[in-house]
């Protein structure tokens, strides 16, 4: 059989090909693959499947070099989500994914559907979602447009997750002008399953029916995948109709129905109909199983009459799944879906003939040989070259930056840093997220360096955190890529969990620009090195290129979603000092590094200098020392030093728990030789502040692992404030002022958005 055009199909012209985002070379490749000119339907399908978003054509060779294996990895990259073993027959499925472009033009629905998509990726693996995280990047809050985006995106994330009933427990947020006009919205989902429930998206078994399940297919989101594969521009707003509309209630029904389906044993494979909808889900499932499939678009339940095969294949209507059922079990599938008032229709079947075929009734409208639609996608390794301008920025010596007058009082600097939206408490955001539903949240947002979830019926727990300091990656992508992984691992270790694996979301600019591709290549290499050193393989993720606006690319942002496992969830620790008269121990050591710091950005408006060095062996030893001390019950709180350095970290330990604050008396005279601002606000890596009733034991644990640790002070009643002595200009600050700066700044910065927030509520 061969595909022929439908009546009314437009003629395939060079202009139409270009409109579909295919290069001349890609079009020639497609014609060679088919051995003839394509039909309009085929052009649409190839355009979607060979889009950057679906094909990873600019990233695949580099991603293949990442470490992906460990004895506990049950499922690595290439599936809907990665899966690791927890012990006791339990497993965790998890994945992070971007929804940047839709959120830039339609923040509420863009973010909401991002949550919906990642939820489906996890429950299609047979896992019940137990937690959501999100990693967000925005421009400056001085801009009304940015405040509108923040309000809409946060509300979209909240409304969707809250309705489905999955707690949102952690995340990370950073603000920098480079994200103006192109915010990043990366949503991560964590699910729990028994190992034997693990389900994959691999079509198998000739004669098995292929079923469309869930919501009906409409005309929304057509070519969303292609939209996500181009630069954002002033014209992007006109593409708002390419953004899908989410229905979390249907998602909740689909979640329950899917888990019932998997438990019923009636299904062979399930995949979310996400980017590029039915076209990509059916082609990818066929390719994984190396089987042929035939789909009849007239069998697909649609929302409106007159939809063409092109539209049905490329629709990104939400809350739909593609299911391969066991032959003769399609009635079981229908019954389960009907219980949840959802549709299930047989739309095709697995066939022996090695072909991907789409018909409209009897008329073949698209036909591709074998699995070539997926496997023949071109792969590119573009030119890579470091930007001379960025190299020059990195070469600047931060120590030569003159202090501003107010810095004569280090408490002023500290307060100013605590009120930086990037550092400040994110209560304004997470108070909009249900973080306690499902009653597993041991440590939710703001309570620890990572979220902690208990696993019912087990002593074990799950820790999860997202991280990426993209300023570091911008100034030194290799080092920054390492730090993104190391910081996430450190955060997970701070709550007492052993870091086990990551999912990554690689947000970069246009890869055809040599300086962007260089950033990408170096950052991915850095991540790979850190993953290998810390024994945290990559189990999947997502690449989002073309994050640009008219003024250039965003900071390169390879976000890490880290999963850690606690052997005893009762032993987890928070970040806030727990009581007065505990000893404060610093694991790790200050340095004279000040480059790429939040201090330079916030106080001096500078993105410059070399980021702090990342010593992966030291990072690993620090994590081992920390886990030893926490495991022995010797740690009352633990918090890593990140943006804002030692002084900010100490302040956060004092004020994080606003209802039970504690002061601190700290002596840093041991490092009096360092420049004071590097000592207080420099961001040297591999450092953790621990409060303990047994400082000797913590220091000894560090020594055992070859890590330095110092007893630097004592916690105190809140009334004593934060006092740092032993330095040229001692720092003394009342906690009320620090707490106000830390806890209220984001709400104050967002206050002008209140009226707009009403306008976009659903």
């Amino acid at each position: 059989m061969t595909a022929t055009p439908r009546p009314g199909d437009p003629a395939i012209t060079p202009a139409l090909v270009a409109e579909h985002g295919l290069t001349d070379e890609e079009y020639r490749r497609m014609v060679a693959m088919l051995g003839r000119d394509p039909t309009f339907t085929e052009l649409g399908v190839v355009s979607a499947l060979w889009s950057e978003h679906c094909s990873y054509k600019h990233s695949l060779p580099l991603l293949r070099a990442l470490p992906t294996k460990a004895p506990w990895v049950l499922q690595g990259p290439g599936e809907n989500a990665g899966v690791i073993a927890v012990g006791d027959g339990l497993a965790v499925a998890f994945k992070i994914e971007s929804h940047n472009h839709p959120s830039a033009v339609e923040p509420y629905q863009g973010a909401a559907t991002g949550v919906g998509g990642i939820l489906r990726d996890v429950f299609t693996m047979g896992a019940r979602p137990v937690a959501m995280l999100n990693s967000l990047r925005f421009g400056s809050l001085d801009s009304a447009r940015v405040r509108y985006l923040v309000a809409g995106i946060v509300k979209g994330i909240g409304d969707y997750g809250n309705c489905v009933g999955i707690p949102t427990v952690a995340g990370d947020v950073m603000f920098d002008p480079s994200y103006e006009g192109n915010p990043l919205v990366n949503a991560m989902c964590v699910g729990l399953l028994r190992e034997e429930e693990l389900t994959r998206a691999k079509a198998e078994g000739v004669g098995n029916p292929i079923m469309a399940v869930g919501a009906r297919t409409g005309r929304d989101g057509i070519h969303g995948a292609s939209f996500a594969s181009e630069d954002l521009s002033h014209e992007s707003d006109a593409k708002r109709p390419r953004v899908q509309v989410g229905d979390p209630f249907t998602e909740k029904l689909l979640l329950e129905a899917t888990l019932e389906l998997i438990a019923s044993g009636a299904v062979v494979a399930i995949q979310d109909m996400g980017a590029a909808g039915l076209a990509s889900s059916s082609a990818e499932m066929a390719a994984r199983g190396d089987v042929g499939v035939v789909i009849d678009t007239t069998k697909v339940p649609v929302r409106e009459p007159g939809m063409t095969p092109y539209e049905i294949l490329l629709s990104e209507s939400q809350e739909r799944m593609l299911v391969v059922a066991h032959r003769g079990r399609d009635d079981t599938v229908r019954e389960i879906l009907a219980k949840w008032d959802l549709q299930a229709a047989v739309i095709g079947e697995v066939i022996a003939e090695p072909v991907y075929r789409v018909t409209e009734g009897d008329h073949v409208v698209a036909e591709f040989p074998g699995t070539k639609l997926v496997t023949d996608c071109p792969v590119y390794t573009p030119e890579a070259r470091e930007s001379a301008a960025v190299a020059a920025l990195r070469g600047q010596d931060a120590h030569t930056v003159p202090e501003v007058a107010e810095e004569s009082d280090p408490a002023w600097t500290l307060e100013h840093l605590l009120s930086s939206p990037t550092i400040a408490g994110k209560h304004w955001i997470y108070r909009q997220y249900d973080s306690t539903v499902r009653t597993n949240t041991v440590r939710g947002p703001g309570a620890g360096d990572a979220a902690v979830l208990r696993i019912r019926g087990s002593r074990r727990g799950i820790a999860a955190k997202t991280d990426c300091n993209s300023r570091y990656v911008y100034l030194d992508p290799r080092n920054g890529g390492q730090i993104a992984v190391a910081e996430a691992a450190r955060n997970v270790a701070c709550v007492g969990a052993r870091p086990r694996a990551i999912t990554n979301c690689l947000n970069f600019g246009n890869p055809k620009k040599p300086e962007v591709y260089w950033q990408f290549r170096e950052a991915v290499a850095g991540m790979g090195e850190a993953c290998a050193a810390l024994d945290t393989p990559v189990t999947g993720g997502n690449v989002s290129f073309y994050n640009e606006n008219p003024s250039g690319a965003v900071f390169p942002t390879p976000t890490v979603g880290m999963i850690g496992i606690l052997d005893d969830v009762e032993r987890s620790v928070g970040m806030a000092f727990a009581a007065a008269d505990h000893s404060i121990v610093l694991i790790g050591e200050p340095t004279d590094e000040l480059g790429a710091s939040e201090y330079l950005a916030r106080i001096h408006g500078l993105t410059a200098g070399a980021p702090p060095r990342c010593d992966l062996a030291k990072e690993r030893a620090t994590i081992e020392a920390l886990l030893d001390a926490i495991g022995a019950g010797r740690v009352q709180s633990a918090h890593d030093c990140s943006e804002g350095g030692l002084a900010v970290a100490l302040a956060e330990c004092c004020i994080a728990n606003r209802h039970a604050m504690h002061g601190a008396r700290v002596d840093l005279s041991r490092w009096a030789g360092l420049p004071q601002r590097a000592l207080l606000f420099g961001e040297a890596q591999a450092r953790v502040i621990v409060s303990t009733t047994h400082p000797g034991d913590v220091v000894a644990a560090a020594r055992r692992h070859g890590v330095s640790a110092f007893h630097i002070g004592t916690t105190a009643p809140a009334g004593e404030g934060l006092f740092i002595a032993g330095i040229a200009k001692p720092l003394a600050a009342p906690l009320a002022r620090l707490a106000d700066a830390y806890h209220e700044s984001l709400a104050r910065a967002m206050a002008p958005a209140a009226t707009q927030e009403q306008g976009i509520s659903s």
Binding site: G158, C163, P248, F249, K252, Y430, T436, R438
Partner: protein, 229 residues
Amino acid sequence: MKVGIVRFPGSNCDDDAWHAVVDHLGQDAVMLWHKAHDLEGADVIILPGGFSYGDYLRAGAIARFSPIMREVMAHAKRGGIVIGICNGFQIACEAHLLPGALLPNDAGYRSMPVTVRVERTDTPFTSAASAGQLLTMPIAHGEGRFTASADELDRLEGDGQVVFRYVDSTGNPTPASNPNGASRNIAGVCNGGRNVVGLMPHPERAMEPLLGSTDGLVLFESLLATVNA
């Protein structure tokens, strides 16, 4: 005691209510599907939190017409105990099992721990608590602003139907301790017969030290004491 937990398609606190009753109280529970017509002999009905039927119209507005709600309403009319938590409170108000209405919060969705004061101990959900006892429990809702006319509020106060009030850590119902703009800081009410109680906070999320609060326990123990009395 046997507790029936109603499961609407969009319920998402149904499992949490189950764990509270079965794991923490050691009592029997049965899930009651929204399409069912039988309460399966349950002594107490819990309408759990969630988004019943999506709640795109008005929280709980559609749920009141479901088959199971006909049975729940008949149970309440017979004097049977019904507890509505969060969305369950909204549904109970929509079904006129409870007075007043729950409007969108004055400042948007709120997820946080709150402190409530027990105003009445003569209800099946508070009989084991002491009057004035302060309980800290999570809230997580977008439509929890309890509202009624001034006359009706006066009547509810006079009849002792205000069961829980949002308060600060010293027990005072201040504006700052009111998370959603509820009239007179009202967090929970009962009906005139005192057998139906609704509240916005989630006692089922405050049952164990690991999760930060055990203050919900006394409310579930009240149910047990009432049924066994």
